[in-house]
Symmetry: C2
C-alpha cells in the first residue's frame, strides 16, 4: 500500500477498552486544544447492538463538528479478521464473539470503516504520527494487563497469514518455564503482566508499608525511584526478561526501532536504561548500531490515532474494500 | 518488488561454502538430467582474487553451454550488505573481510550480480521453487554447523534494517541459559548446532559402540530409528528446543509455513513429528490451522537455486542497481 504524501486527518477513531469505548477525531488529538474524545461506559449498554448504536451516534456527532470525515477506524482488544472487519472474540468484553463490526458500523455511519487489533493500531499510531515516524521496520509493544505487539515491516503494517501476528506476550523466554494458556512454557506474559509484577511485589515487599491501592507496577516504580533495593531488583528482573525477548526479536527482525508503551513502560528510566543495556549487550553491532529503543509517544490516545490513521491511509490508497467483497 | 509472471531460469548461481564453491545454471538444477554444478575447492586457490577469477571463469564456461544468461546470484555464509553486494565477513572462510564481491564479479563476468547471505538464498529457493511455493509468509531455517534462517514476508524476502534479519540460531530459548557469543544467554545454536548434538551424544551414548565417524546428528538419528531410548530422548529434546523457538516465532510472525532443511533435518520423522506436535500444541488454533511445517525441498543445491532465482527476479523486475549507485 502506497502511503499518501500528505497526512490527511479527516478520520475518526474508535478505541475499545475493557470497560469503556473512546471515540475521537484524529485532528482533535493531533492538534493542541482539540476536543476531548467521547467516552462511553460499556456497562451502561444492555446489548452489543445498543453499544454499537451509541458509538455510531458519537461518530455522527463528531462528524458534525468537523470538515467532511472520510473514514472511521476501530481498534479492539482481541482477535480480528482485518479483511472482513470481523471480530472473532474480545478479551475481557463478554458478548463480543463473532461480530461483523465493520459491516454494522458502515451501515450505521455511512462511512468506510476498518477494524483492527488494538496493538496493531498502537504500532500504526507510533509509526505514522509518533515515536517511530520515518522508520521502515518497527516492533511496537504495550506493557499492561497483558503484553501486546504490532509489527511494521518494510513500511507496512504486517498482520500475518491469519491476522494474528505480533503476539509478543505469548512468546517464550524459558522453554522449561511454567506452561502458558496455549501450552507454551515460559511465555513473557507469565512473568511481566501487571498482575505478575504486582504479585511479585506483594511477595517481596511485604515488610514495606502497602500502598493505598495495593502493590502495582507503578507503586514498585515509585519505591525504586526512592532507591529501595528490592524494588530496584524487581525492575532489573523485568528488564532482563523483556530484554532477552527483544534481543531475540532483534536477531530475527533486525528492526529500526522498538517502541514501548503501556502502564509498565511508565517506569521510564528504571526500565529503559537496563533494557537498552541488555538488548545492545545481546546482539551484533550490525543490528545494534542503527537500532532505536523508544518510549511510545502516545498514551491512552494511541488506539484512536492508530485506528483513524489506518482508516484514512486505507481509503486514500484505494485499498478499502466494499463490505461483502 | 513485483514477481515476474513466468519463471525465467536464465541465471547462474554461486554457492560459497566453508571449503568449496559450487557454480551451476538454475535450469540445470531444476531440470532432470541437467549438468552437475562445477565445484572449486577453496584451498586450491592462493588468494581471494585467484578464487574469484576461477569463479568468473566457471560462470563463462556455463554461459557458453546455455541460451543467453542474464543474471548471476551468489550466496555466501556470512554477513552481506545486499544493496552494495559487499561482504562484511564470512564465517569460516579466512581472508574474506570487506570484499566488494558484486562489483568484482560484475566486472569479470559482464553480467548483473546479486550477493546475499546463504540462509536468505535457501529461503528464496524454497519459496520460489521448493516446499513453500505459493506461500506469502515463510520462515525458513537450516540446521547444520550453525542455525541460519531467512524470512519471506508479504511475498518478499525480508532482510531487515541492516540486512541482518533471520538469525534464528542467535535467538534465546532460556533467558537464564549459558551466555552466547554476542552476550545473549540461552541461544538456540548453543543447544542444537551439529557440534552440540554430537557432544550430547558422546556424553550420553558412551556405553554404545562409537560409530566409525564418531558421534554425529546422523549417527544419533540412525540409533534412534533402531529404537534406542537414549538416542530417541536426544531427538525429543532437540524437538522441544526447536519447537519452543518456532512456536514463539509463530506467535510473532503468524507465518503460512516453516521450512526446515540442513543436516539435522535429515532425521526426518524423528524430528518433524515431535516438532510439529510441540509447535501446534503451543499456539492458538488461529495460528496453527493454516500453518504448514515442511521439510526443505532442496538440499545442497539450495544455495545455487536461491541465489540464481533472486538474481533473475531482481533483474527482470528492473530492481537491479548499477554498481556504484
Amino acid at each position: 500500500m502506497k502511503m499518501p504524501d500528505t497526512r490527511d486527518l479527516r478520520a475518526i477513531g474508535i478505541d475499545f477498552g475493557g470497560t469503556s469505548v473512546k471515540i475521537g477525531a484524529l485532528s482533535d488529538i493531533l492538534t493542541d486544544g482539540g476536543a476531548e474524545p467521547i467516552v462511553l461506559e460499556t456497562a451502561a449498554y444492555g446489548s452489543v447492538d445498543d453499544l454499537i448504536g451509541a458509538i455510531a451516534g458519537s461518530v455522527t456527532d463528531i462528524s458534525r463538528r468537523h470538515q467532511k470525515m472520510i473514514a472511521v477506524g476501530c481498534g479492539v482488544p482481541g482477535l480480528v479478521d482485518f479483511e472482513r472487519g470481523y471480530v472473532h472474540t474480545l478479551t475481557n468484553v463478554p458478548g463480543w464473539d463473532g461480530i461483523a463490526l465493520r459491516e454494522i458500523l458502515e451501515q450505521e455511519t455511512g462511512l468506510p470503516v476498518i477494524v483492527d487489533n488494538d496493538a496493531n493500531c498502537m504500532a500504526y499510531a507510533e509509526w505514522r504520527h509518533g515515536a517511530a515516524l520515518g522508520c521502515s521496520n518497527v516492533v511496537a509493544l504495550t506493557l499492561g494487563t497483558g503484553i501486546g505487539g504490532g509489527l511494521i515491516i518494510d513500511g507496512k503494517l504486517y498482520r500475518g497469514a491469519s491476522f494474528a501476528a505480533g503476539e509478543i506476550g505469548q512468546m517464550s523466554i524459558d522453554y522449561q518455564g511454567r506452561t502458558g494458556p496455549y501450552g507454551l512454557p515460559g511465555i513473557l506474559e507469565g512473568y511481566m503482566g501487571n498482575r505478575q509484577i504486582s504479585e511479585l511485589a506483594a511477595a517481596r515487599l511485604h515488610d514495606r508499608p502497602e500502598p493505598s491501592g495495593g502493590w502495582t507496577p507503578r507503586a514498585v516504580a515509585e519505591l525504586a525511584v526512592q532507591g529501595d533495593p528490592v524494588a530496584c531488583h524487581i525492575w532489573a528482573e523485568v528488564a532482563d526478561w523483556l530484554g532477552s525477548l527483544l534481543a531475540s526479536t532483534a536477531w530475527l527482525l533486525n528492526p529500526d526501532a522498538f517502541v514501548i508503551g503501556g502502564g509498565v513502560a511508565n517506569a521510564a528510566d528504571l526500565l529503559f536504561k537496563p533494557l537498552e543495556e541488555k538488548i545492545r549487550g545481546s546482539v551484533s553491532s550490525v543490528i545494534s548500531d542503527g537500532l532505536r529503543i523508544l518510549p511510545a509517544h502516545f498514551g491512552d490516545e494511541a488506539g484512536i490515532v492508530g485506528s483513524a490513521a489506518q482508516a484514512i491511509d486505507t481509503v486514500l490508497a484505494g485499498a478499502h474494500q466494499e463490505p461483502g467483497n
